[in-house]
Symmetry: C2
Subunit: 249 residues, 2 copies
């Protein structure tokens, strides 16, 4: 599905859950999804974390799905009362939501005994009309894709199998190549002006400078990103020459 | 500054940086700030991550500062060309930004030799007018608070000393008490209906159910949160009784 002439494929991520905002649960999905999409050539352009609040979730869904190629969500698709994501997606998109027979069949694989598939568990088969289901090999309750909204579980292991499941059907962009140049012990302030000049001369490369503090001293990495590999290598050469020229002799 | 009758103190966090969205850097500030604010009785209501893009940063600042008591930001206040947060805050708030003599004095503590305090480093002393500076005991370049916007470094160790510095001056809310009840091996689907009924009966308590998957099986925690300690204990009793009643005998 890659077409180098097509516009960039973009995405936003909406993390749904009080537990992330209270600090009780430390999110592990943002970094994973960011890296995953980048490797597919999809540019993650925005992340939002919102509470388990219908109004907030619906507003965020509608803003983000309109702005980007895809909107991915994590969290809020379990069987308990605080799991309201599927209903919010249906309301946001203005589609009906009912028990989906395909999703019920998936749940039956796990809850073989009919009385175990109670009303609460059946809630996990409530899917907005027009969705593609996303299989869940771990706990069976599926995610789904409705329009350009991809709804996944919040539990990282389950989110990850769902992402593997849906990824092949997504449009892919040209992968943004990326490389790091170690600043060789130079502080940011010593190369900031020269690096800024290199950035100004090369709009096709995104240059970032990232300090890392180990508790005693800083170590800096200069990161170059571009969809033009030749240009990336040219700018790498300029950055490396800059570092050599600025190092004390 | 705590007044139990005053409305809740709320906050949003804006994480600024391409490196988080590309997945190259895994954010460590969201969880830390979430926990920190919760312990102060400040409700973190939303988090956004945006790229190093002036338009996106300004739009997010203006939306979030209008909606919540405080807006905290992390990232983008170093000396390199990709550090544009201070200028974006000034534009968003419609105030001037110039070299602040107090900030220059702070930088002089670190860059004693006058020629080391070059133009790039002096950029870190550009502060929107009307700001309170936030001291940085690690690398000296300060954060600042302008209106209700609190601007901090992205490097976790530096963000943390800045947060310690500014926190005493912030309005505090009544702390939301929180406790976990272990579901004792019960699956979510076994208690979802009963837990939903308990939630319905007690609006003053926020009840969440959080599955944890260890790669083999699920272990669930039911988390209760409230600003009413007596009510919290009453609901804890109901949830514990529910678990006992549902466990196989």
């Amino acid at each position: 599905m890659t077409n180098p002439n097509s516009p960039a494929v973009t995405a936003a991520l909406l993390v749904i859950g009080d537990e992330i905002l209270s600090g009780r649960t430390k999110d592990k999905n943002i970094g994973y999804i960011a890296e995953y999409l980048t490797a597919m050539g999809i540019d993650l352009k925005e992340v939002r974390v919102v509470p388990d609040d219908e109004g907030e979730i619906i507003a965020a869904i509608n803003t983000l799905r309109a702005k980007f190629t895809y909107l991915l969500t994590t969290g809020g698709i379990g069987p308990t009362h605080d799991d309201i994501t599927a209903d919010c997606v249906a309301k946001a998109l203005g589609v009906e939501i009912t028990h989906d027979p395909r999703a019920v069949a998936m749940l039956r694989e796990r809850y073989v005994n009919p009385e175990d598939l109670n009303e609460a568990r059946l809630r996990m088969a409530r899917i907005p009309h027009g969705s593609t289901l996303i299989a869940n090999s771990i706990s069976k309750a599926p995610g789904f894709m409705c329009g350009n909204v991809i709804v996944m579980a919040g539990v990282p292991a389950i989110m990850q199998v769902m992402l593997d499941e849906i990824a092949p059907s997504l449009a892919k962009g040209r992968v943004m190549a990326s490389l790091s140049v170690d600043a060789g012990g130079l502080p940011e302030g010593a190369y900031a002006a020269a690096l800024g000049a290199i950035q100004k001369g090369h709009e096709g490369v995104i240059i970032g400078s990232y300090p890392h503090f180990d508790g005693v001293k800083f170590a800096n990495q200069i990161v170059l990103r571009s969809r033009d590999e030749a240009l990336l290598q040219k700018v790498r050469g300029e950055v490396e020459a800059m570092i050599v020229s600025l190092k004390p002799h």
